[in-house]
Symmetry: C2
């Protein structure tokens, strides 16, 4: 195998591919990248068995073939090369030779046969989606997914299509049991999704990176086992989480009739201030809502206490309710609007946080005793 | 005690002071900041017993007194406050009350008597030094100081004044036994230093930060026990390391007659490239110097090998010599000139690296077997 490629495109591609290759794995091939050259392009693949990323790059092929080398080392070497043409050649015993100007690298490799068999997908199932920002959707909800490995069914984002009235909507939901994040985006093409599925967040974070680099049209499919997305010259195949996602509609409150409108930026500042005084473990903050104001209070036995009153349009009964400041801040950081609503039912029920002029993203946060 | 202060000056000062306060210490006062108010200013002090930083700030004093509170918490709270006037008040049981607009913080504190007695220094001993960049001197050598606690006499920078001919020179030297860094800067006032001393690098890093924020004239003294520096409204007192600094003049080679001039930026790139192929533990690189060229070679059993030839003006005998790439890169990163010299004696002796048109900073790097 032998081909020539310019550094610029190659490194952009390797940057996205190498992050999925594992640093240390019991299966050596998983830390490697598979490079196949045929006709007038190379195809690069990395996988952690759950997420597989494939990218094709047009380049000058001298000889067809395959190599399989450390993804991280290849990335580090290419990153440090000058902006010149790079020649890559397969050698005996699965070695690869990389030359660029005066530099020569000989990289030991694996038999490409050892690289895992790629999950198959059907090009025909892919549906083209126009002007749809899947990266934004992932961004707005992914932080709420659980990081506890034992709760594997919460380690991903639930993705489904909903048609209500004449609108077709793509929906993503994530939850860790303490808070829930939900976003809807209208898109007529999304009826292609027949049934909701849980997509692992690690793979979706890769999708977010790739669509961030290559915005525009995309194609996707959601089958029984996998989510496939095609963006520019990238194909990302993510194995679905085999589990039941909780019935999130039960969790989203519908009777939160006490509503306070607040300035997003100022409230974030206030919350950050008050939560400086709280134990490192649980950032519990007491919210007191009364006529014309919301008051935040936090106390820690070792450090002291903090209190701040925040003027707010509210005319209902006084309420005291505690929240984890971190959960509120995580939600507010994803609200782009200048103003947002906190919607409450009573002192023991979950709060809703959402932008003031839009229905979503919508965040549900369970109260805590403080 | 009670005073008012504006956020801007206060936070700049706290940022510099809080870094020396320890997060966790068996002596609680060491994680605290002492604030004393008298007449028309407050005096802030933090110490780790080795380095003490004192800063004075003019402000509106309502009542004289002292408080002693967590340096980190105070910094975190002040950082999150709006850009408004802040009122700080000493309360019963050593508590402090901080108010700013609608926010009220009550911070538990310690009896100010528990704060360590400050090292004394004599204002009279301080000598004014004009237009002298002590921050640059620290920067250029501090990385070479040892991080091994057991080699306590190498954990600092050796600072001395030298007069050669009609020139008075301030000199700093640091070494970890594998490499040595030396910088001289001319300054007539430096004869105030009678005898060289080892100043701990942690304290000097704080000096670097403070002079970085407040450049200009400074005053300093070096006594039997301590180094004192006055910069703007800051006084930093650093307890000297009680030990013998090695006879560094023995270490700096004087017979390195093989000299190669190289482009700094290009050689850094080349070295970074070649050192991608080397084991993580020791970044050993083989340098081959021959007529018209220098060649770098590196190999790792697991990964492969790399080679690059670099054109260079050299007409001497061929030499093979190994170096730790990290040490060479650390030195080159501190050379601001476009070109630098590598000066060698033979295959078993230390190399000198220095800028092409200046005598210093000067870096001595021991060879290694590769």
């Amino acid at each position: 195998m032998e081909f020539q490629i310019v550094k610029k495109d190659f490194i952009k591609c390797l940057t996205l591919l190498q992050s999925i290759a594992e640093r240390r794995s019991s299966i050596p091939a998983l830390s490697n990248i598979l490079i196949e050259s045929y006709k007038d392009q190379i195809r690069l693949t990395t996988t952690d068995l759950e997420t597989t990323i494939i990218s094709s790059l047009a380049c000058n092929i001298q000889q067809e073939g395959k190599i399989c080398v450390s993804a991280r080392k290849l990335y580090e070497i290419i990153r440090e090369l000058p902006e010149e043409e790079i020649n890559i050649q397969g050698m005996e015993n699965h070695w690869a030779k990389i030359t660029c100007k005066n530099a020569i690298f000989n990289l030991s490799g694996l038999d490409p046969m050892e690289f895992p068999t790629l999950p198959s997908y059907s090009e025909q199932d892919l549906v083209g989606i126009k002007s749809f920002d899947i990266g934004e959707m992932i961004e707005k909800v992914v932080f709420a997914a659980s990081t506890e490995e034992s709760r594997y069914n919460l380690n991903g984002i639930f993705f489904e299509a909903i048609s209500s009235g004449d609108k077709n909507v793509a929906r993503m939901v994530a939850t860790d049991g303490h808070r829930l994040a939900l976003i809807d985006r209208e898109s007529p093409e999304f009826l292609c999704i027949k049934k909701g599925a849980i997509i692992p967040k690690r793979g979706l974070n890769e999708v977010k990176k790739v669509v961030g680099e290559y915005p525009g049209e995309l194609k996707l499919s959601l089958s029984e086992n996998s989510f496939v997305i095609e963006v520019s010259s990238f194909v990302i195949i993510i194995r679905l989480i085999d589990g039941e996602f909780p019935d999130y509609k039960q969790v989203v409150p519908t009777e939160n009739d006490k509503r306070i409108k607040l300035n997003t930026k100022e409230f974030i500042s206030c919350l950050r201030r008050i939560s400086t005084i709280s134990s490192d473990r649980v950032e519990g903050i007491k919210f007191t809502i009364r006529k014309g104001a919301i008051e935040l209070y936090s106390a820690s036995q070792d450090i002291g206490n903090a209190r701040e009153e925040f003027p707010a349009l509210y005319d209902g009964i006084e309420m005291n309710i505690g929240f984890n400041a971190r959960y509120i801040l995580d939600a507010l950081n994803e609200i782009d609007e200048n103003e947002f609503f906190i919607e409450l039912k009573d002192e023991a029920s979950a709060a809703i946080i959402r932008p003031a002029s839009e229905q979503n993203p919508l965040y549900v946060i369970m109260p805590m005793r403080v």
